[in-house]
């Protein structure tokens, strides 16, 4: 083989290898500061959703390091591991980073979250699945290492039903109506089904599901024809990645009334509706934080991080829904670390100390003001038993150009959701032999 050909082959192999192998890591360890691994996905079919989240998280951590010198003087060592939204790759990332002193995991995939939850009891590293993951994990008595604040899929599903009931003139008017759910045929997409089935039984509405296989989520025409034929009165969506804009276009194509189409908070990004534009006017989505850049924290980000070395965020992404969600996630991690330091001292903390920080985090109005995030979210107050922490959800409406807040904060049906969470958590505990009294031991 000539030198020229060898060099070319090596270059090709290097580029192909970079693509094929997920989870490229540099060497970083807890002794350099507080080690926060981020399981991100900037590549693959779900990259359009994963990239803004990754940017929001890494920008806020960079802000803490650059502006404040870390948290209470201790630097954050942030390292991304690319999962491509693949559960097996995500688990590999977890295994490769946990020994470096990881204090918390943010998997951003229900599949990865569910896969690493069984490991948390042994590894004693908390998992923060903010607004996703396994809903019954909100029961801290059974899942002491898992936090799904500020609210869960089941709470959100009940909020949607509550909203629909309100629009129909009362929950008693739901009898005989049909509510459909178009969802990614994936553990994430199936999460709200138990709650919606329970609510269907309680309130007498018919509940129909329309699964969308991940591999062909960009070809949903048959599904939309089925929806058009069934004519459900309301339609909820649990979608992700390229499924979302395709579904919104599908709804437009079959003339489904957009103001009766409500997406989960993962189906409410700007990129989900921008393609359909004006035609998607009226489409609703749940959310648990603000959209836009009208908070002082964004000025600080622009001053210290965005457009500077290390930030991958284009200006147009700042303030978008998923960027803000990543940022909010990083705020929660930062505040939990700060809370833990209040008890254990200003030094790199451990996973166990981080769990205490998450269980005792207080993100009240005063603290949100101090962070430059006044009114950005509903105050959060986690307890040992309740890892959901806040609960309310609001709905926003696409006006053809941008999202607008459409409702006030809506409390979920806690009387329905919490017993379901405890029942399901107890069932999982019995199956897996887990203790059910973490908060009393």
């Amino acid at each position: 083989m000539t030198v020229k050909r060898f060099t070319l082959a090596a270059a090709v192999a290097a580029v192909a290898g970079t693509t094929a192998l997920g989870g490229f890591l540099t060497t970083a360890h807890a002794e350099d500061g507080i080690y926060v691994p981020l399981l991100t996905y900037r590549t693959g079919a779900f990259a359009d959703s994963g990239t803004p989240i990754a940017n929001g998280m890494s920008d806020y951590f960079a802000l803490l390091n650059k502006r404040d010198g870390g948290i209470n003087g201790v630097k954050l060592v942030v390292e991304e591991c690319e999962t491509g939204y693949k559960t097996d790759v995500g688990v590999e990332c977890y295994e490769r980073t946990k020994t470096k002193g990881a204090v918390v995991y943010n998997p951003y995939s229900t599949g990865i979250t569910n896969a690493i939850i069984p490991k948390t009891n042994g590894d004693k590293i908390p998992v923060l699945s903010m607004g996703y993951g396994l809903t019954p994990a909100a029961d801290g008595n059974v899942f002491p290492w898992v936090f799904n604040l500020p609210t869960t899929y089941w709470s959100q599903a009940s909020v949607f039903v509550k909203y629909v009931g309100d629009q129909e003139g009362g929950l008693d008017k739901l009898k005989g109506k049909t509510i459909g759910l178009i969802h990614l045929d994936h553990p994430y997409g199936k999460e709200p089904i138990p709650t919606l089935e329970a609510l269907a039984e309680t309130h007498g509405f018919d509940f129909v599901t329309y699964p969308v296989p991940p591999k062909t989520m960009q070809d949903q025409r048959s599904t939309w024809e089925k929806i058009d034929s069934d004519e459900p009165d309301w339609l909820f969506m649990w979608g992700w990645g390229a499924m979302n804009p395709t579904a919104v276009k599908g709804a437009v194509d079959v003339d489904f009334p957009m103001d009766r189409f409500i997406g989960v908070w993962w189906s409410g990004n700007e990129s989900d509706v921008r393609d359909a534009g004006k035609k998607a006017t009226g489409y609703l989505a749940g959310d648990f934080h603000g959209v836009g850049d009208g908070w002082p924290v964004f000025d600080a980000l622009r001053e210290h991080v965005i457009g500077k070395d290390g930030s991958q965020t284009p200006e147009s992404m700042v303030g978008e829904t998923l960027y803000n969600r990543g940022l909010f996630n990083a705020v929660v991690v930062g505040e939990a670390i700060r809370t833990a330091m209040g008890k254990y001292g200003d030094r790199p903390i451990t996973g166990e100390e981080m769990r205490w920080g998450l269980e005792n985090i207080v993100l009240d109005k005063a603290r949100l003001d101090a962070l430059g995030l006044a009114g950005f979210t509903n105050p959060i107050n986690v307890t040992c038993a309740d890892h959901e922490g806040s609960h309310p959800v609001y709905l926003k409406k696409w006006d053809g150009d941008k999202w607008e807040k459409s409702t006030d904060w809506i409390e979920p049906m806690k009387d329905v959701v919490r017993p379901l969470i405890e029942e399901e958590a107890a069932k999982i505990a019995a199956e897996r032999g887990l203790a059910t009294n973490a908060c009393s031991s």
């Binding site: 050909r5 070319l8 090709v12 580029v15 192909a16 970079t18 693509t19 094929a20 900037r42 590549t43 693959g44 079919a45 990259a47 359009d48 990239t51 045929d185 699964p211 296989p213 591999k215 062909t216 989520m217 960009q218 070809d219 025409r221 048959s222 024809e225 089925k226 034929s229 990645g241 390229a242 804009p245 395709t246 276009k249 194509d253 079959v254 003339d255 990129s271 921008r274 393609d275």
Partner: protein, 332 residues
């Protein structure tokens, strides 16, 4: 009849009813829906055909099964979209994309194919698998991993729909202008390819190379040139397919997976037949959509994921060369 037997009988009758009775009642009950589903199947079929056509063009002329065809569709589509995004007028974006696909064809011939001349087909196939990985990584480096909306306004692709037969049925049938555009433009492209392959000197040379590249070389047909021509031709088809697929949702790397749905189309239509790719695509597309809509109740959700492969397997049993493929007779 005891309880178990009764249960079995009721399940069996429900299954058979769902398979052989209910769908046909639905045909009669909602003929508008039947027309709608068939038209969607035609639309999907045309899309499959366009991808299959890229495979056929290369296989016909070089005997290479190009595993990278799906990612070429994505690469081509993203090239057009990205160029328009940075302000290049649509017509120039398409012309530049043709240049890019041509340059890619030259590079593939020089780097991948030329060193493998006279190697068995499986070696060339493996090389195209490597090429697919390379193009995916290289593409994500250039275009980024985010799917991009296809600027259909800039490209002049209509995005509205006609509502027809509303007076006859409960609901009008929707005919999407995007589908009509794909149908008309795709038809013109197929006609041009057939003419090129059958009526031009280069087209005849392509077929000669496909029959026997050693014999073709001996009569002075330049193999490297022919390979560049077929890969460029396949790149042209990829540009069209990438833009039209992307226009239905977004142009992104996940489209490469959908492109593999062209495989049963190839098995059905034959790897060497242009009309076979078209007809195969339409048969698979219509069958998939009908099955998903009318038979999902008994066959389960996602019938359209696998029904095409079942059809392909049945065809393989009775006609391994596909409906229109050339029968392979080899001396032993």
């Amino acid at each position: 009849m005891d309880g178990t037997a009764f249960e079995f009988f009721s399940i069996a009758s429900g299954f058979l009813g769902g398979l052989f009775v209910d769908p046909f009642i639905a045909f009669v009950d909602r003929p508008d829906k039947l027309i709608q589903i068939v038209s969607q199947g035609l639309s999907a079929g045309i899309m499959y055909s366009l991808v299959a056509l890229g495979f056929v063009v290369i296989f016909k002329a070089s005997g290479v099964f190009n595993f990278a065809q799906g990612i070429m569709v994505v690469f081509a589509g993203l090239t057009v979209v990205s160029l328009i995004e940075i302000g290049v007028p649509a017509i120039f974006a398409i012309l530049l994309a043709i240049v890019v696909m041509g340059a890619m064809a030259v590079a593939i011939e020089r780097v991948v194919l030329r060193p493998l001349v006279n190697q068995p087909g499986i070696i060339l196939f493996m090389a195209t698998i490597g090429l697919a990985f390379f193009l995916e990584g290289f593409g994500q480096t250039i275009f980024g991993a985010d799917p991009k909306p296809v600027p259909i306004d800039a490209l002049g692709i209509p995005d509205d729909k006609f509502r027809v037969l509303g007076d006859f049925f409960r609901k009008p049938v929707r005919i999407y202008q995007l589908d009509l555009t794909a149908l008309i433009a795709g038809g013109l492209m197929v006609a041009a390819i057939i003419l090129f392959l059958n009526r031009t000197k280069i087209g005849r040379a392509l077929r000669a190379v496909a029959d026997d590249n050693q014999a073709a070389l001996s009569v002075g047909i330049p193999l490297p040139f022919i390979w560049v021509v077929v890969w460029t031709l396949s790149g042209l088809v990829a540009i069209f397919a990438g833009v039209m697929w992307g226009a239905q949702s977004q142009a992104g790397f996940s489209l490469a997976v959908i492109a593999l749905k062209a495989l049963p189309v190839l098995i059905l239509g034959g790897f060497t037949s242009v009309p076979g790719a078209i007809l195969g695509g339409i048969i698979i597309g219509v069958t998939e959509k009908l099955a998903e809509f009318y038979w999902r109740g008994v066959l389960g959700d996602g019938v359209e994921q696998w029904i095409g492969y079942v059809i392909a397997l049945i065809i393989l049993l009775f006609r391994p060369q596909g409906l229109f493929g050339e029968k392979i007779i080899e001396r032993v």
